[in-house]
């Protein structure tokens, strides 16, 4: 039987059905845990259908479902997957069973509420990634907010949980309300909520001739998404929400929803505005990387350290996508996956420490390495992934992003200082992560580690953590398996890989599918026009000798 026409609906609604099922079951023993585990595992298996049956040579949306839902206004139940959303969906599916496993004992009371909300959150996130109708998307987008807020408010760690939940809600809701305005305005202008149609219109400047209004609408979109990512300086909710939220909720709190939405909607519907605002976003991202790392460096609370670290890591993704280079876009999307995985592993490990010692205060730890050899091993591996050690996943994303950022800097005749600032994050990240390892695991035993006995990882915890390590390794070694899908999106949304090097421009023209006009700057003062002096590789030399000087397209500079 061919599931392709329904698979996206199945993925979206299995968690919802699971939530209903859990509501009917009695909350006895471990029923809730096993139920949620079964549902989330089944959902994960369903998401694996996508990469298995995805046509990597095709462009555009696949597994499309499109049927009318409401006639007036014209709202369709339109779902689809492309290279951008494919792996984000699988990632969401992958993290859910791990989230259940890690909450197994950490959530002892009101389990039914917890797991129902957890599964609802799943449905909402899948919905965000697959919806291709703006109205439908907006419904899912708002829905992601509700279970998360209640999870934080109900299952938060201290009495400040309600304040943190309200802060999170307000931060996310206010811009979302404005987003709704912009969505409705778009409908008024174009008569459609359909995302592919809107993207098509945008590429021929057909949405509106009123550029101030377009600007306002694009800013409404971007602001709503940027808060959710979060982009510096809109991260005010982050550290409180992360500090309070239970582990399973934190694992899905940051990054991917907002980044996906920027890529799909801001870039798709407002390409010109996005290009124009790119320098600002790149600057904010570069600042965010360093800012997050510097504040993480002086935290005493492990979870706040992780929260600010997360700010730095999502900033890397933001930096990448706004360069509009293939490397930057591919790397940014890859980094979004990395952040989801690395952040999840890190928060899970912190949660395990908390389960044993009921504190996130680093000063109370110390010398745990001798007691917990497995835990320290996993902490170190996760740290290495997060700080971008080559052969693990983090490096691939960071390398591509910064590489794209450098191309952007050079193409804009600006010096490379923004890239240098952003790249300095690799030093600071290593500093705070290794310092954290040292303070928790090395040296003499700390107060808590001395007085309270803990235990090294048990079987359930091993099962929850090793899959992540395996994925770190595989994604670090065989990145093309992921990038072959991501690249179909990145290549279409980008300027060419290197708009600076004459060789590469030539090579890249064939890969250029987007609506954005090719922009090539002639070499400025920093690089003279190359002159061939001898034949090294005949084909290369011929290329360089015969090729006319690159055209300067004056209109396309932004």
């Amino acid at each position: 039987m061919n599931f392709d026409p329904y698979i996206l609906s199945i993925i979206t609604f299995v968690p919802l059905a699971g939530a209903l099922l859990l509501a009917l079951l009695p909350d006895k023993g471990k029923t809730m845990q096993w139920g949620a585990l079964a549902v989330s595992l089944f959902t994960f298996l369903c998401t694996l259908h996508l990469p298995a049956h995805y046509d990597y040579s095709a462009h555009g949306y696949q597994f499309v479902e499109n049927c009318p839902w409401i006639a007036a206004p014209a709202i369709n139940y339109h779902l689809g997957v492309d290279g951008l959303s494919l792996w984000l969906i699988v990632l969401t599916g992958f993290l859910a069973p791990l989230g259940v496993l890690i909450s197994w004992n950490a959530i002892p009371k009101r389990k039914k509420t917890f797991y129902i909300l957890f599964l609802l959150q799943q449905t909402a996130m899948f919905g965000v990634f697959v919806a291709l109708d703006l109205f439908l998307y907006y419904a899912y987008w708002e829905l992601t907010l509700v279970p998360m807020t209640i999870l934080i408010a109900t299952f938060g760690r201290t009495e400040k949980r309600r304040a943190a939940a309200i802060k999170y809600f307000l931060y996310a809701f206010i811009p979302s309300a404005i987003l709704l305005v912009a969505v409705l305005w778009l409908y008024v202008q174009t008569g459609t909520f359909d995302v592919p149609k809107l993207t098509q219109l945008a590429s021929v400047h057909g949405i509106s001739a009123n550029s101030p209004a377009l600007w306002l609408a694009s800013l409404a979109f971007l602001a709503a998404f940027a808060v959710k990512v979060p982009v510096f300086p809109l991260h005010g909710w982050l550290s409180d929400a992360v500090a309070e939220a239970p582990t399973a909720a934190v694992m899905v709190l940051v990054g991917k929803l907002g980044l996906y939405s920027i890529l799909r909607f801001s870039f798709g519907i407002f390409p010109d505005e996005s290009h124009r605002i790119a320098p600002l976003m790149i600057a904010l991202a570069a600042i965010g990387i360093v800012y997050g790392a510097l504040i993480a460096l002086v935290q005493k609370d492990l979870k706040r350290l992780a929260a600010y670290g997360t700010l730095g890591h999502v900033s890397v993704a933001v930096l990448g996508i706004f360069t509009f280079t293939i490397a930057g876009l591919d790397g940014g999307i890859y980094q979004t996956l990395n952040e989801g995985l690395g952040g999840a592993a890190f928060f899970m490990l912190l949660g395990l420490l908390y389960e044993r010692y009921q504190t996130y205060d680093m000063r109370e730890y110390g010398g745990l390495a001798a007691k917990f050899p497995w835990m320290v091993t996993l902490f170190v591996i996760t740290t290495l992934s997060v700080i971008g050690l080559p052969m693990l996943n983090g490096f691939v994303g960071e390398f591509l992003v910064f590489s794209g950022s450098m191309q952007w800097s050079l193409a804009h005749g600006s010096s490379f200082w923004w890239t240098a600032l952003a790249t300095s994050g690799v030093i600071l990240t290593a500093a705070y992560m290794l310092w954290m390892i040292q303070r928790v695991f090395y040296g003499d035993l700390g107060i808590k580690s001395e007085t309270v006995t803990g235990w090294d990882l048990d079987a359930r915890e091993h099962i929850a953590l090793w899959p992540l390590v395996a994925v770190f390794l595989v994604m670090g070694l065989a990145s093309p398996y992921w990038t072959k899908a991501i690249d179909t999106f990145g290549a279409a949304a980008s300027y060419p890989m290197s708009i600076y090097s004459p060789y590469v421009v030539e090579y890249n023209k064939t890969h250029h599918h987007g609506h954005v006009t090719l922009s090539i700057r002639n070499a400025d003062g920093t690089m003279q026009q190359p002159k061939p002096i001898g034949v090294v590789d005949p084909s290369l030399a011929a290329d360089a000798l015969n090729k006319p000087a690159p055209q300067t397209n004056k209109g396309a500079r932004y």
Partner: protein, 649 residues
């Protein structure tokens, strides 16, 4: 050798790491040792096989496997190349690596975490082999970062000691500063050349007159990377602290192999450097400055491993200097001889420390030559080699560097030659100082002492090390004597085999040293031999003839002595100028003011504003989410009307 076997060279140590790292805890010690030794011995034999081909004149071997990173217009493959330069590096890494593994089996025999040590050591071998085998910048960077990781793990091997944990972290972070430069250089290379493959990049670089500033920028950023890994000013600070690691680690990683990666990288990229005279001058100056600076500190240290550490920094400065004057093959030659005699010196020092159950302070040694004779004689070979006395290995390589510096076209050539010569004298002095203080004079050994190193664990009298440790010492001692004979200059009726051997890879024509006459060469050689003997003589006078003199000198020149003894206060200066301000800035300004105030303040004010507005107009449901939502819906409607109005106008 069939090229597909090339994969085995790095993968066998990796397999060793995996086995010992996962189940090593449960294996008996002989099994752990066996796995670790085999997984380095077999690659060493494979390298010997490669050499049989290389010497027979076989073409460089290349293999390409699956792509590692592949996006539209840019691909990096897993690809290895063995050319003459790589062949030499492979021989050093696997040969010295195997000897040190063997030695470790004896040295670490009584340690807890024996399996962990060998797992990390194999991991290091894996990454180091990747580093020298790779045929692209990015894969080289894999090894580059990987050896840093292994170094971090091994320095922090005694992780319960705060000083060891600190030193490990410091090493990694300082190396990361270098990596930051390396990364930026790679990004620039991608942007300008569209590839990271060595052959492609060098072909494109030499195809055009790339005289622009960007090539200098790339080279200078690569120098930052090399300075981090090869412990050059200003990033050398991690290396002396790295002596917290077990002594075999100091020998393998922090003397013979890893720290030479920066020199290897510069030599590998010589095509780029040859196009940038500015970068070459910088390299030469950094090298000379580091050589002299570290030698000054080495003069007054009393910890036997620290003396060797500073001498390593100083010798690495020599190699940097050689690269700076375009004498790349001389740099690699010195890299090789240094690997022999410095590994020997460290291992012999380890044997001394082992004999004294962990004592590292030279003031508590003395008169050991009769009590540990094998260690004494082997170490003597190392001391003579590093001091630069012919026909020991160090003389030929050092002399080649000095000669090339003297005759180089680099504007600072004569200056760095002079600095190099002075450093050579100082090196000879402090190495003989170490020799005299350890093996001659009166004994200051505290019998049955329990040293401050974790090493030992079982205190008993001064004892010679077991055979498993002495065999590597003997082999390295022989290499320290004869290792330089492959580079005897033609002026001394030699054939300079190593120079000719490396010529296909390293000769570029652009920055070749001007050929001086044989007379000049012999004259310079005599000067440097004289310098070495002066160093020896001064040390003999101060520590044997009149043993009290050095103390008097220290009092007479107290300011200078204190400055040297405290390593020019560089660590303190870095702490005061960089680390503390950064922390204060982050804590007070960023975390306190910006994040606590502005970033969270503005939205809180918005919330408060909404709440206030809500309570003023209607006291319906004060402060809860529903009232905000109501207000927001109203506001949203207003904005919508406004926007439609704007459009209609």
């Amino acid at each position: 050798m069939p090229s597909s076997y090339l994969w085995l060279i790095p993968l066998l140590p990796f397999a060793g790491f995996l086995i010992n790292g996962t189940v090593g805890r449960k294996l008996p010690r002989p099994a752990v040792t066996g796995i670790a030794l085999l997984s380095t011995l077999i690659p060493a034999l494979l390298v010997a096989w490669i050499w049989s081909g290389v010497l027979a004149g076989a073409a460089p071997i290349s293999i390409v496997s699956a792509p590692w990173i592949s996006i539209s217009g840019f691909t990096v493959n897993f690809a290895f190349t063995v050319d003459h330069l790589t062949a030499i590096m492979l021989a050093i890494v696997t040969g010295v690596g195997f000897l040190i593994h063997l030695y470790s089996a004896g040295y670490m025999a009584h340690e807890d975490g024996f399996w962990r040590f060998f797992a990390y050591l194999n991991l290091f071998m894996f990454f180091m082999l990747i580093l020298v085998l790779s045929s692209s910048f990015l894969l080289l960077f894999v090894g580059w970062e990987g050896v840093g990781l292994a170094s971090y793990l091994l320095i922090g091997f005694y992780f319960k000691k705060d000083s060891a944990a600190n030193a490990g972290k410091k090493a990694f972070v300082v190396n990361r500063i270098g990596d930051f430069g390396f990364l930026l250089a790679m990004f620039l290379i991608v942007a300008h050349f569209g590839s990271l493959d060595f052959a492609t990049v060098f072909a494109r670089a030499s195809m055009f007159h790339l005289s622009g500033g960007f090539l200098t920028t790339i080279c200078l950023l690569l120098v930052v990377g090399a300075a981090g890994k090869s412990a050059q000013i200003p990033l050398y600070v991690w290396l002396p602290d790295a002596m917290e690691g077990p002594t075999p680690v100091s020998a393998l990683i922090h003397a013979a192999t890893m720290v030479t990666a920066g020199i290897y990288m510069v030599a590998r990229c010589h095509v780029l450097f040859d196009h940038s005279p500015t970068a070459l001058i910088v390299v030469a100056c950094i090298g000379a400055a580091t050589a002299l600076f570290a030698a000054c500190i080495g003069l007054v240290q009393t910890d036997i491993k620290r003396v060797l550490a500073y001498s390593t920094v100083s010798q690495l400065g020599y190699m940097f200097l050689a690269c700076g004057v375009g004498a790349y093959s001389a740099a690699i030659f010195h890299l090789m001889t240094h690997a022999f005699f410095k590994a020997l010196l460290f291992l012999a020092a380890g044997s001394v420390i082992h004999a004294l159950s962990g004592e590292q302070d030279m003031n508590k040694m003395g008169a050991l030559r009769k009590r540990i004779p094998v260690t004494f004689w082997t170490m003597t070979m190392g001391v003579i080699a590093i001091a630069g006395i012919p026909p020991w290995a160090g003389f030929f390589s050092k002399d080649e560097i000095l000669y090339q510096a003297f005759t180089s076209t680099n504007p600072v050539g004569k200056l760095v030659w002079a600095v190099g010569l002075i450093t050579a004298g100082m090196t000879s002095f402090y190495m003989f100082r170490l020799w005299f203080k350890t093996f001659f004079g009166e004994s200051h050994v505290e019998e049955h002492s329990q040293g401050h190193d974790n090493h030992g664990g079982h205190a008993h009298g001064v004892h010679e090390s077991p055979a498993v440790m002495l065999v590597p010492l003997a082999v390295l001692a022989i290499l320290s004597i004869i290792g330089g004979w492959v580079g005897v200059p033609e002026a001394l009726h030699g054939h300079d085999e190593i120079g000719h051997f490396l010529a296909p890879v390293l000769s570029s024509g652009a920055a070749e040293a001007v050929e001086g006459s044989h007379g000049t060469e012999i004259g310079l050689a005599l000067v440097s031999i004289l310098t070495a003997f002066i160093g020896l003589g001064v040390a003999y006078f101060l520590y044997i003839v009149k043993p009290g003199t050095s103390t008097k000198l220290a009092i007479t020149f107290k300011p200078v002595y204190t400055l040297f003894e405290n390593k020019f206060y560089v660590d303190e200066i870095y702490a005061a100028l960089i680390i503390t301000p950064l922390q204060v800035f982050s804590r007070l300004f960023l975390a306190g003011l910006v994040d606590g105030g502005v970033a969270s303040g503005v939205p809180s004010m918005t919330a408060a504003g909404v709440r206030g507005l809500g309570s003023i107009t209607r006291k319906m449901q004060s402060g809860n989410i529903r009232s905000y939502a109501g207000w927001l819906a109203l506001g949203a409607a207003a904005v919508l009307v406004f926007m439609i109005f704007v459009h209609v106008r």
